[in-house]
Amino acid sequence: MIQFPVVNLGGILPALILCIAGLVVMLACLFVKRGTVTVAAIMSAIGILAAGAANSPLRVLNETAFSGLVSLDPYSWFFNFLILIATGLTVLASVRYLSDDEPGAYEYFVLLLFSGAGMMFMVSGNHLLTIFVGLETLSISIYVLAGIIPKNPKSSEAALKYLILGGFSSGIFLYGAALLYGSAGSTGLPALTEYFKAGTFGPMALAGMGLLAIGFAFKVSAVPFHMWTPDVYEGAPTPITGFMSVGVKAAAFAAFVRVFFDALGELQVNWTEILWVLAALTMILGNLAAIVQDNIKRMLAYSSIAHAGYILIGMVAGTELGTAGVLYYLLAYTFTNIGAFGVVALVGSKREANVHIDDYRGLAKSNPLLALVMSIFLFSLAGIPPTAGFVGKFAIFSAAIAQGYIWLVVIGALTSAASVYYYFRVVMKMYMEVPETTPARLEFSPSMILALGIAVIGVVYIGIFPTTYLNLALESVKPLF
């Protein structure tokens, strides 16, 4: 007799809605003659809002579904919202970036929605296979999105590089999963927990764990698995770069934390030292390399590498507070970085013409409000109070200090002090320098204004009133401990 799995469609409804919305946009826009981009964006936004509405009641759940393949808990709930925010803001920031007559104009939104759905499966995966399928769903969409600018060799190069190296890292991840399966006889996270609790594991299991860590480290762009990041971030369309830097990173960290705290929690002593080294390398290299960048997208790419280092500190700390710090940091980073890349997209214009930091000269004169908003994002990236970026760093650093990782925090503090230099360089260009040529008029669209408005309010609001969100993060990580 065939065993039917427990079907809990309500539990994965947010992801399902994104999938359906993607299909609907894909089909409907075939028959739209004019304004396809606007129509696609509006439909996507509706889909995302609906998914958000479907997600809200899920916080109370604490169960697994589909034969233990997905786990529905506050942790998934938190990340579902985070992904919806990231996807939604990216949709808003992308409208003016695309034109109706270019190929791939509305497929852009379809792929965005599919990758959002993939992320959701990844964060709620309770089984290495679910996580892998989610990872691939989001990755394949992103490979295409990175190369979606027509007739742009940089964009195509980015897509191809990301595809090749992404495939490479997926292979490593799968190999790790296979080794774990070979040891434990299952790739379900609860089964792995049981296996490691028993304490009879050999080097094969450890190697499997190491390969999994590398697979995740690639996706979050930790040093030395970061090399693709600057090239891909530079070549991809700017809103997509923003989406990659927060969405992919958040989903990868979510799965990283869940797998390593839930399934591999017993091996904490083993992986902590590796993550310690990765975090230190990532912070040092990311920040130092960012200092010499003149292209703002590359600079933000290295900055995003550096931020992965800070987030890894939260994992190294290993406590509830540390992981809650990771969640909060990712939330803060979502608002901040999508906002920053939104401004870069706005200034850079469609053809990515103005992405040198000298193009920001005198922005405060020509667009004072935009310069202010950008400064707030940069302050948050630099971790200057009262922005959200500060609270995130503070939460993570203090959790690490409480566990005695003083040197790691010293490296973090030192490098983030150095990071102020390159963030402020942009602020200085905006406020204290005069452009050599008259700057091009920027094309503001209502949706971009909305996106930047939400992002800046988010950065400031959760920076000034962080308590609610930190507690939310703290409750969300409870299922892992």
Binding site: M1, I2, L23, M26, L27, L30
Partner: protein, 118 residues
């Protein structure tokens, strides 16, 4: 444990022997009258001369990929059909969803003109 692999070893040896035997026998027994044409590698009906890295039309790949997608759909339908009587309504809906999703894709590629050769 290792015993269960024995038949495989036997098959390996037997097939290797038969293959070798045919080659050796035909070399020993046949009459040899080589010409350049005869020495060419054999490919059914096609002219074997020319660069191997020929450019194919990109449409070939698109059609090829679409073929694989629907081929796999078919692969899934076979086992499903075998146990259909046990799956009942649940299985029917599951497969309906699967087929509909692929149908959406088909409509998309059709409308986009990916099935036209021009």
């Amino acid at each position: 444990m290792i015993n269960s692999y024995l038949p495989i070893l036997v098959i390996l040896l037997v097939s290797a022997f038969i293959g070798l035997a045919i080659i050796v026998l035909s070399t020993l027994l046949s009459r040899k009258n080589p010409t350049p044409i005869k020495l060419m590698p054999y490919e059914c009906g096609m002219d074997p001369i020319g660069g191997a890295r020929r450019r194919f039309s990109v449409r070939f790949f698109i059609i090829g990929m679409l073929f694989i997608v629907f081929d796999i759909e078919l692969m899934f339908l076979f086992p499903w059909a075998v146990v259909y009587d046990q799956l009942m309504i649940f299985g029917f809906i599951e497969m309906l969803v699967f087929v509909l999703v692929l149908l959406a894709g088909l409509i998309y590629v059709w409308k986009k003109g990916a099935l036209e050769w021009q």
